[in-house]
Assembly symmetry: none
Homo-oligomer: 235 residues x 2
């Protein structure tokens, strides 16, 4: 792994564990240079990455400050799978369990939406995200089977995106997202600890490969109080 990336991960780790507390100032670039035996440019690349991912905020002439991260956050501009996000919040217990794993024929509404030939085989996967002992997020994924051969329940329990990108070497190009509130469904009640909430926040996600082919459709259904989305828009 690249050195700046190692420094990034080490620093992120120390913020997650609280060694570098929220609101506090990180060591200066010069100090980090000596600590990690790296050049200033390399240290700066690590710090830039931390800022891009929402860990810190740099202030010219003052220093680099640790940001608070108390809620579940979808912080990045890029396409991020939920386990990637959770991985970024280590220190809090988040567990994924596969509630359902089926090999089905694409339902009509989905074949239409994804522009597939009717009858296409797909994986339909339900995964529940448990945060601090409560089931608060339900992910329902639909993958085109031909495009993710060898996908198993065990992989789904880990990170499907890591499998798709690193094992299969697939090139993801872009994803369309939509966020809206919806009434809770029977499935939500079955899978989630909803308490009295009557609504869920639903993120729908259509993911495309470089050639423009869609290989995934996902609905991520969040309990209201555990939902947060952040991003940075630029001109």
């Amino acid at each position: 792994m690249a050195k700046y990336r190692q420094i990034y991960e080490r620093l992120a780790e120390r913020m997650k564990t609280g060694e570098y507390a929220a609101e506090s100032k990180l060591p200066s670039e010069t100090e980090l240079m000596h600590e990690y035996e790296a050049s200033r440019g390399t240290v700066r690349k690590a710090l830039d990455l931390l800022q891009e991912h929402g860990y810190v905020r740099k202030h010219h002439g003052k220093g680099v400050f640790v940001l608070r991260r108390d809620q579940i956050e979808f912080q990045f501009n890029g396409i991020v799978s939920f386990s990637e996000v959770y991985a970024s919040m280590l220190g809090r217990s988040i567990q994924t369990s596969v509630a359902s794993f089926e090999d089905i024929e694409a339902p009509a509404w989905l074949a239409d939406r994804m522009n597939l030939t009717p009858g296409t085989r797909m994986f339909r996967i339900e995964r529940v995200r448990n945060f601090d002992g409560e089931n608060v997020i339900l992910d329902v994924n639909y993958f085109v089977k031909d495009l993710v051969p060898g996908l198993t329940e065990e992989i789904a329990a880990q990170s499907i995106y890591a499998y798709v990108e690193h094992e299969l070497g697939m090139q993801i190009s872009y994803a369309k997202r939509k966020i809206a509130a919806e009434d809770v469904t029977e499935l939500d009640r079955l899978r989630l600890d909803l308490h009295d909430y009557e609504y869920v926040i639903v993120i729908t996600n259509d993911t495309f490969l470089y050639e423009g082919r869609q290989f995934e459709y996902t609905e991520s259904r969040h309990r209201l109080d555990k939902f947060q989305f952040s991003d940075v828009a630029r001109r």
Copy 2:
């Protein structure tokens, strides 16, 4: 302006005008070095920025390629006030009324959040968006007064962003957005037709100028059923 940013803008310009066509390859870093009389590091910073902003994609060993523009357009990367976007999504018009327009001292929490010296004068504006006869969105804007001189209630009733950009000629750099659900407040009940909804979706928006100075903080509070957000994320 920094040199790498000048190169960034020049290249972006040449892509917008079509001089660098979509799907085509940009000149190599070495060529750009000579063309702009800059070091490789500086050229690379400009290219990184272009990629981050969705103009190009870099491929190790191959080159830097111009992305299709139509998808960038659809992206929410313009820093548009959310309600304008919402209106265009539904293809209908929203009526805006200014519910409150004050000249105040920055409250402590906001001075802290925006990194302002305490006592800074600000405009605090409440605007209500009416759709199909119901008040469904409440925008609360805070602007640093020094940075938007001459802002009036009449302008607020139209588009503040149009005023800021075209009349004042200010250069907006980027905005940080966060979306989350919150309990309704007294203010929500006062301004909106909430029916039985107990929650609102709140979009907070911190907007920055090129120099990194923040000039605005906004909360856009949406009735649950009238909220929708879409965007395109790119790897």
